[in-house]
Symmetry: C2
Subunit: 270 residues, 2 copies
């Protein structure tokens, strides 16, 4: 077995660059990093396409079936010394395995032609929140999820983990410019409904039965003024208790559920 | 200003014991720890009763108005040296202030006599999840939240932070024995509805219009068999996409919303 020990190895060097680029604006052509055998297995089950799999000699021996499957899916296997592997990983315990996976986050041309429900995250900052919202969007049948510029990277390790495979299940668009996004959503006949805990109207009054884009803002600052100005409706969830609002991921899940429920009901319970 | 520098000071020693006890079964008579000025301010706004506030000399000078309010609310102020304060804190940056607050988590006798909606967490393990569910239970008007034995401590720092004040808004019961809990819920006329992503029925078929207890299981293992055996219904959220399930906090928020919505609808849209 040829074990790579040098950081100057081209494959290792490219992956190290990816590891450093995570969380910032980056060239997606190089793919993104997934850590751990379970993470890779789940991602491959969900449709991820591995490009390169780095494994320590121990991990390569332990996860032979997974590595065979990755090779069948087109991946190259690189056995690397443990200290080199640790440099590729963002978690403390990468369990001896890090994979470079083909990027799935695209640009606005990936928006489907006739969506019923699109989830838009504006300047969302927490990767766990973003991944959890993506998972809920998938569960409730959204046709796409879009993040705007200055949002967290949906292919950062925490976001990928929180999405639990959903990253590979529906069209995901990253870093969209707001003006272009509004044009694309309106061009597809979607009503733009923003979530705002201080809106006068609750969701009952928003036209969630029809094709719509649910627009959610930053965890701390909500929706920026220039975004609000372009929206058709602002709506809040009804609150019966004393909590002023839900956290972002919980609010998104409820809104996506309510949209899906009302759309199915309007379509005759299909 | 008398600055405490010794860990043998009785107040410091008692608080250190609390810091070590967090997350495990513990005597609640000593209260629990809150960190940071913002955390204490929010908790006091929500109704928390501080017993002792520890602050470094710098923090005491910086947060004078807050400390005055805490004293008016009955708290004793102890100015401590920075290294001592760091030992009381669980976070890396406690910002010079740690408070001992009177415990609000009670036993089953705190369950209201005629609740409409009770949220039950069975062996939930993640404090962030538990706090987020508590916040959603508050938002959607639940009459109480109950955790069973082997669940995470709702007064651990992460749970308190995630609850965003809701810990102080509704009756919270911790460490309930399952048998006693079932008797208490049934005695109050509640239907026991368990959440299970693999249940044959979706929530539409569960009697959420009536008084009910929503029972949610552990993040990884779901509801234990002996708990399921005692439930009246098992229900899942409808899923239209490819995600198999939501994470616990998101699922709980949607179920609590759906319960509240159906109960209001049944009551004539009040």
């Amino acid at each position: 077995m040829n074990v790579i020990t040098s950081a100057r190895n081209p494959a290792v060097s490219a992956a190290r660059k990816l590891a450093r680029a995570h969380g910032r604006a980056r060239d997606r052509s190089g793919g993104f990093l997934l850590e751990g055998a379970q993470g890779l297995q789940e991602a491959m089950d969900a449709g991820a396409r591995p490009v390169t799999v780095f494994a320590t000699p121990e991990a390569a021996a332990r996860h032979q079936a997974l590595l065979d499957a990755a090779r069948t899916a087109g991946a190259e296997l690189r056995v690397v010394a443990a200290p080199l592997l640790a440099e590729l990983a963002q978690t403390v315990h990468p369990q001896g395995l890090v994979a470079v996976v083909r990027s799935v986050v695209g640009t606005l041309d990936r928006l489907p032609p006739s969506p019923r429900l699109v989830c838009v995250l504006v300047e969302v900052g927490d990767p766990g929140n973003a991944g959890t919202v993506l998972r809920a969007a998938d569960a409730f049948g959204a046709d796409a999820l879009v993040t705007t510029a200055n949002s967290v990277d949906l292919e950062s390790p925490k976001a990928v983990r929180a999405s639990a495979g959903s990253l590979f299940h529906l069209p995901v668009i990253g870093g969209a410019g707001w003006t272009e996004l509004v044009a694309a959503l309106r061009g597809r006949g979607l009503a733009l409904v923003g979530a705002d805990p201080h809106a006068p109207d609750t969701v009952e009054r928003a036209p969630l039965e029809g094709p719509c884009a649910l627009v959610l803002g930053n965890e701390a600052h909500g929706l920026p003024e220039r975004v609000r100005a372009d929206l058709d409706h602002l709506a809040r969830l009804p609150h019966y208790g004393r909590a002023e609002s839900l956290n972002l991921a919980a609010a998104a899940a409820v809104l996506l559920y309510e949209c899906a429920r009302r759309q199915r009901e309007a379509a005759g319970g299909r």
